[in-house]
């Protein structure tokens, strides 16, 4: 046994162990991208970098043996900087988006490609559930939203964008009219009360998401009917009243209480009754300073990340904090506030999620995506909507929730454009129909795990690195199909891939 210190903590470990082994045995978290285990350790990513004894140089902890008396620095600012830069350099090579640009542009963050996949599987209920994860008023917004999502659609590089707005409207209208989607809350109820002041898009949205998370919510509205600007800004042909009514009813069905005709002039009166208060009272020019909070030139001052005001437990969103024209944006902010309130009350701290954005695609790149659409079920959804979900390029990353690069990028606050100094790699996708393997070489970090696996397992022909330096890429010898080259190690390679470069298309079940 030898003894080393990591971040001042004494660790005893067997001789021959690496610094990473020692850190793990002591419960100290060191990120890794390329190292998997003793046999598969290509030593390439430098995300596991640590410093030894105040030396200026960084060493990969996965490949450096612990020596007796060693003092390891695994968490100082400069070690974190080094890791962040390694991640940022990988991101500078990364071609592909975490989320599809349509969902990124959608103020509610609607997962549009997933909705399209649900439709392709013929499951309209699933599509509605997917929508309701992000967007509480899909039918209403389907009438009035200017649909910025469609401007970001990758399909535009080839022909015309997907018809997204009409799609979610049609799905929602069908769902509202069917009995199968009556709401009930799955989450265990929490004994916490939230007051929401205002029932416009921001207020309704925050109340909805808090209710879904198990909070009991009361919405205060000075008018006699809920809806706020949704009722005042749009005339009836643009937004049929019954659509809005139906969607508010669904929110009410979740247990949200509406205190109509009650104008809250000071939060002091209700401050003690609620665990948190959300001010979503909209633009109120005459006396917008009535809440006794700090105000800026645009409205109530809020923290950019948490949307909390100068007073603890009080949050503000929508036009109350800063004038907003688009109802979807207000709804999106309502959702963000609900998440923030939940984090705050449950003591969770969440990293700001990381999103890679590759920018404009060339026509050739978009064609490559169009030729390899991984989910190609035949839509059997009884929907009379315009547009064909099969046209969706599904350019979102299928590994976005399990991608080590994305996870660490969020953890270390990496920015994908920091080293965006030149031409980026091509964003292409190859689909292998027999095995269902999808290969996106632009997302490969050249970590070498898959190459090592086929080598260690003695797979023939196996994978190999091709070329060298910045142009190095993984390929199958003699132009073979990459899935066949991986042979019996296919699943292991896919599981080991730390990014979305390798993944398996889910087989489409015909409904």
């Amino acid at each position: 046994m030898i003894t080393i210190t990591i971040d001042g903590k004494t660790v005893n470990i067997e001789e021959g162990a690496t610094i990473l082994d020692a850190a793990r045995s002591a419960g100290i978290d060191i990120p890794v991208m390329c190292h998997r285990d003793k046999n598969i350790s290509p030593v390439s990513c430098f995300v596991c970098a640590v410093r030894i004894g105040g030396n200026d140089n960084f060493v990969p902890s996965c490949a450096t043996k612990a020596r007796n008396g060693m003092a390891v620095d695994a968490s100082s600012e400069c070690v974190r900087d080094c890791r962040r830069r390694a991640l940022e350099l990988m991101l500078s090579e990364h071609a592909g988006d975490c989320a599809a640009p349509c969902s990124r542009i959608c103020p509610c963050g609607l997962n549009i490609p997933e909705v399209m996949r649900n439709l392709l599987s013929g499951d309209v209920d699933a599509a509605y559930k997917t929508i309701m994860l992000n967007m509480p008023l899909p039918a209403t917004l389907g009438y009035i939203c200017p649909a910025p999502c469609q401007k970001g659609c990758r399909r535009t590089a080839i022909d015309t964008p997907m018809s997204i707005q009409l799609t979610h409207r049609a799905i929602a209208e069908q769902a509202i009219n069917s009995s199968s989607v009556k709401k009930h809350v799955d989450t265990a109820p929490k004994s916490k009360n939230i007051a929401v002041i205002g029932s416009g898009p921001a207020g309704l949205s925050s109340a909805y998401f808090l209710a879904v998370s198990g909070y009991s919510c009361t919405v205060f509205e000075s008018q006699s009917r809920a809806g706020g600007t949704l009722r005042t800004q749009f005339d009836k042909p643009a937004l049929p009243e019954k659509v809005l009514d139906a969607e508010i009813e669904l929110i009410e069905a979740l247990g949200v209480k509406f205190a109509l005709g009650q104008k809250i002039n000071s939060i002091d009166n209700i401050y003690g009754d609620y665990d948190a208060i959300i001010i979503a009272a909209g633009l109120q020019d005459n006396n917008r300073r009535r809440f006794g909070l700090e105000y800026g030139s645009h409205g109530i001052n809020v923290c950019r990340d948490t949307l909390m005001t100068s007073r603890p437990n009080v949050f503000a969103c929508g036009s109350a904090a800063r004038p907003i024209r688009m109802a979807a944006r207000a709804a999106g902010q309502g959702r963000q506030t609900a998440i923030s309130v939940d984090n705050y009350l449950s003591g969770k701290s969440a990293h700001k999620p990381f999103f890679m954005n590759t920018g404009h695609l060339s026509a050739a790149e978009a064609e490559s995506l169009a030729e390899s659409i991984p989910h190609t079920g035949k839509s059997k959804a009884p929907l009379s909507i315009t547009g064909d979900p099969g046209r969706c390029l599904q350019c979102d990353c299928k590994k976005k929730s399990s991608c080590a690069l994305r996870d660490y990028a969020a953890q270390y606050g990496a920015h994908h454009l920091r080293y965006a100094t030149g031409h980026r790699r091509q964003y292409t996708r190859h689909l292998y129909n027999d095995s269902g393997l999808v290969h996106e070489p632009g997302k490969c970090t050249a970590c070498g795990r898959c190459v090592n696996i086929t080598m260690v397992k003695g797979i023939t022909p196996g994978l190999s690195f091709t070329g060298r330096g910045p142009d190095v890429y993984v390929s199958a010898p003699f132009g073979a199909d990459i899935d066949k080259a991986m042979g019996a190690a296919l699943d292991e390679c896919v599981k080991s891939c730390p990014t979305g470069a390798l993944w398996i298309r889910k087989q489409v079940v015909d409904a």
């Binding site: 043996k65 990988m90 199958a476």
Partner: protein, 801 residues
């Protein structure tokens, strides 16, 4: 990747089978086998590779990985002849890019095409041909052309094709260099550079004169003569006294030789009289004039200062010894050091001697040689495995050619040094790793090994002792990173040349996991001298921390260039001014780039620092392998930094994130700055990346790659800032300069005739002008103008004009 449509008619499986039989079928034989296929077909045809996998232990993944890692291997068919445009540092500063463009234009290559439509020539850039003093250099198959200009492309290709017709080749294999040393002899160097400047023609002329008059004198081939600026150099030795003739051409030879050796017989005398008469009738040339014009004395001021500061240890007997004359080597004290080691010196004592001498590795990093030997020996004891010895001759630095010269000139000295090292550490097998670009070196070493084996200096029971060792040669395949010791080991094992983490060091676990001693060939060349002359004598030279001498390749903008060996501790300025004779053409000395892509640029103001490992490191540079490129005021430091970074990022193995992606991003930024679109923030990012790459890479390549950028940022930041303002102070970056014709133009139309892109209109007897939008800044008009009326001005000024 492999193109399925490649035409593979004529692949001969039986031929490959014989190669497999001869070379072997092990997985570690992949590089020699690929070399064999490449030599046969000029590229790697896929059916040959598949056949290779089917009939050996080599896997398809290995073939793909290895063949795409080493740039020497082509995977698409090539033209019949290969044009290699050298882009080494010296060639770069002398306009190699313009030469490359010129050849491409002449061949009609456009876009990504590298082969002319007739499929006769394939053109590509190569890292360094090691003929830096003749820069810019172009090699067509075996023939090297020096001092090439873009406009000369056509002439050179014609000349090459003429040689082909006449059956001449650039190969020197037909010359037998094994002649014993005598009182009277004529020495001609046939090193790679000398041959490129025409010494083969001089050799032929000497041979003709000797045959014609039946002169009693031997002609002897020597290795490098060090004074590259004086080549071809002819040394006539009469009664042991050498007479030197510099820059000789074939026509001069007749007179020079007959001046020293009058024809012996009456018939020959008559023949000479007749020749002289005829010649005087035809040319009315005076013999003595020629003789005196070419003659140089070593007492000459210039030569005195060229050699005065030098001291030769690794290059002992430079220019006098025949490289493959083992008798001569023995007469000069060769193998005495080996004998004294084998006769009663125990390895531990030997290691102590080397430790005591203070010798440090000449490959660049300067690790103590004795300590390295000690570590290998310590690791070997207790284990009963093989120990390997490797001579690192993978001299990839652009601008360095000392290893090549040492191999070509002193093969026995290196072998002797390696034998002593093998004895000290207990190695049973020694391997020369030599880059494939140095075919002449490989041939000479191969022959030298043969000769040593025949003389019981290699093989079993050497010189009757119990000591046995065998030497083999491994050829590189064009990857610079293989000079790094762990990558070199991977390469010998038939893998992609990817460095591995250290520790374990090669001394602990090296080739095939066994303790391995790797030294640079210059280090080995110093060993016999130290044993023969004692450590005190060695320590008397150089500085206390860096004793001995260092061989440098001096090139660039100095008046004299060549391969020099100076004691450690002399100043850079001393080397540039005394040995190099200052800057040619009276321009201003600006900086010295030392240590190649791992080194840095030291400005003229700091050139009074002595040359040793610590001082150079302190200045941000590095000894490196010893390339020393002198720069003048016409060299743009940003361009130099970009040049080196382009080299290293292209040579990165691609393993570590920082080196792979970081150097690429740095190059993006430098490209941007050189193109005139840099912004102030770029410098901060550049610096941040440089520091990160240096501190977080596995091997020496990554750890030193940012040095050229860091030193230029440190000493020449104003030039970077000028570029960001849109000016290139040296007038070199194409996007920031314009060519204009001044009023001195006489209307002779020569510029019009030379312009390859028709950017100059035909206006006889009137001022010509250049269309800036068409101009490619190739410099052809400027070189051709008889009135020197073509000027380079900053582009923003041109807009104002």
């Amino acid at each position: 990747m492999f193109d399925d449509k490649i035409n593979i008619d004529g692949f001969d499986a039986a031929w490959l089978d014989t190669q497999l039989e001869a070379i072997g079928r092990g997985a570690d034989k992949i590089i020699p086998l690929l070399h064999a296929i490449h030599r046969q077909y000029n590229y790697l045809p896929q059916p040959a590779l598949i056949h290779l996998c089917d009939n050996s232990d080599i896997t398809p993944a290995d073939v793909t990985g290895v063949s795409t890692f080493y740039p020497q291997f082509r995977r698409t068919p090539a033209g019949r002849h290969r044009i290699n445009v050298c882009t080494g540092t010296a060639c770069h500063v002398n306009g190699a890019d313009l030469v490359y463009d010129g050849f491409r234009r002449h061949l009609g290559c456009t876009g990504n095409v590298d082969t002319d439509p007739q499929k006769l020539f394939t053109i590509n850039k190569v890292a360094c041909l090691g003929c830096c003093t003749l820069a810019p250099v172009v090699q067509i198959d075996g023939v090297i052309y020096g001092h090439v200009t873009a406009a000369a492309a056509g002439g050179i290709i014609d000349d090459f094709l003429n040689r082909q017709d006449k059956g001449q080749s650039g190969s020197r294999d037909d010359i037998n260099g094994k002649k014993p040393s005598t009182a009277n002899e004529i020495r001609i160097s046939l090193g790679s550079c000398c041959t490129a400047s025409g010494s083969k023609a001089v050799w032929d002329a000497v041979q003709r004169v000797i045959d014609r008059y039946r002169l009693p004198v031997k002609i002897k081939r020597t290795g490098c003569i060090s004074m590259c600026h004086q080549t071809p150099l002819l040394v006539v030795v009469v009664n042991w006294t050498p007479h030197h003739y510099a820059r000789v051409n074939a026509e001069d030879v007749h007179d020079i030789i007959l001046n020293h050796f009058p024809p012996p017989s009456i018939i020959d005398k008559a023949a000479r009289w007749i020749d002289a008469k005829t010649e005087s009738l035809l040319l009315s040339a005076e013999m003595n004039a020629t003789v005196n014009r070419r003659r140089i004395h070593l007492l000459d001021k210039s030569l005195g200062s060229f050699f005065g500061m030098q001291k030769q240890i690794a290059m002992e007997c430079c220019g006098t010894a025949g490289p493959l004359d083992i008798d001569e080597y023995i007469v000069m004290g060769g193998f005495e050091a080996l004998k004294s080691c084998l006769n009663g010196m125990i390895p531990e004592d030997l290691i102590d001697i080397i430790k005591d001498s203070g010798l440090r590795g000449r490959g660049g990093a300067g690790f103590s040689t004795g300590l390295k030997w000690q570590t290998v020996r310590d690791n070997a004891s207790g284990r009963h495995g093989d120990i390997y010895l490797i001579c690192n001759g993978d001299e990839g630095d652009p601008g360095a050619f000392m290893d090549r010269m040492l191999f070509e000139s002193f093969p026995f000295r290196i072998i002797e040094g390696m034998l002593i090292a093998a004895y000290a550490v207990g190695a049973k097998e020694g391997i020369f790793y030599i880059r494939t670009e140095y075919q002449a070196s490989i041939n000479i070493i191969r022959e030298a090994i043969d000769i040593c084996e025949k003389n019981n200096l290699l093989g079993c029971r050497i010189l009757g002792s119990d000591f046995s060792v065998k030497f083999t040669i491994a050829e590189g395949a064009g990857a610079f990173v293989c000079g790094e010791e762990t990558a070199l080991i991977q390469s010998i094992q038939g893998k992609r040349g990817m460095p591995t983490p250290k520790p374990p060091y090669p001394a602990e676990q090296g080739l095939y996991g066994k303790p391995t001693l790797i030294n640079n060939c210059e280090t080995f060349a110093c060993i016999p001298w130290i044993i023969r002359n004692g450590t005190e004598e060695f320590k008397n030279t150089g500085t206390p921390k860096s004793p001995g001498t260092k061989v440098f390749a001096l090139a660039g903008k100095t008046a004299r260039g060549g391969l020099i060996e100076t004691p450690m501790g002399v100043t850079i300025r001393g080397i540039v001014e005394h040995i190099g004779g200052g800057i040619a053409g009276g321009r201003k000395f600006k900086a010295v780039q030392i240590g190649g892509p791992s080194g840095g640029c030291i400005p003229a103001e700091l050139c009074d620092i002595p040359v040793d490992y610590e001082q150079l490191a302190g200045a941000g540079a590095m000894m490196g392998s010893g390339g020393m490129i002198v720069l003048d005021e016409h060299d743009c430091m940003v361009d130099i930094a970009r040049y080196f970074l382009a080299f290293t990022q292209n040579q990165s193995c691609g393993r570590c994130t920082f080196c792979r992606a970081g150097t690429k991003r740095m190059l993006d930024i430098l490209d941007k700055i050189c193109a005139g679109s840099g912004i102030a923030k770029d410098l901060a990012i550049l610096e941040e990346l440089a520091v990160s790459i240096k501190s977080a890479s596995l091997c020496g390549l990554g750890k030193t790659a940012p040095n050229p950028v860091l030193t230029t940022l440190r000493y020449f930041r104003d030039e970077y800032e000028a570029h960001i303002r849109g000016e290139c102070p040296a007038g070199r970056c194409k996007n920031m300069i314009s060519y204009v014709i001044t009023d001195e133009c006489c209307g002779c139309t020569i510029c019009y005739q030379h312009c390859p892109v028709k950017a100059i209109e035909f206006t006889p007897y009137a001022n010509h002008s250049i269309d800036d939008t068409l101009c490619t800044r190739c410099g052809a008009c400027r070189a051709a103008c008889p009135k020197k009326a073509v000027k380079i001005i900053p582009k923003n000024q041109a807009a104002a004009v």
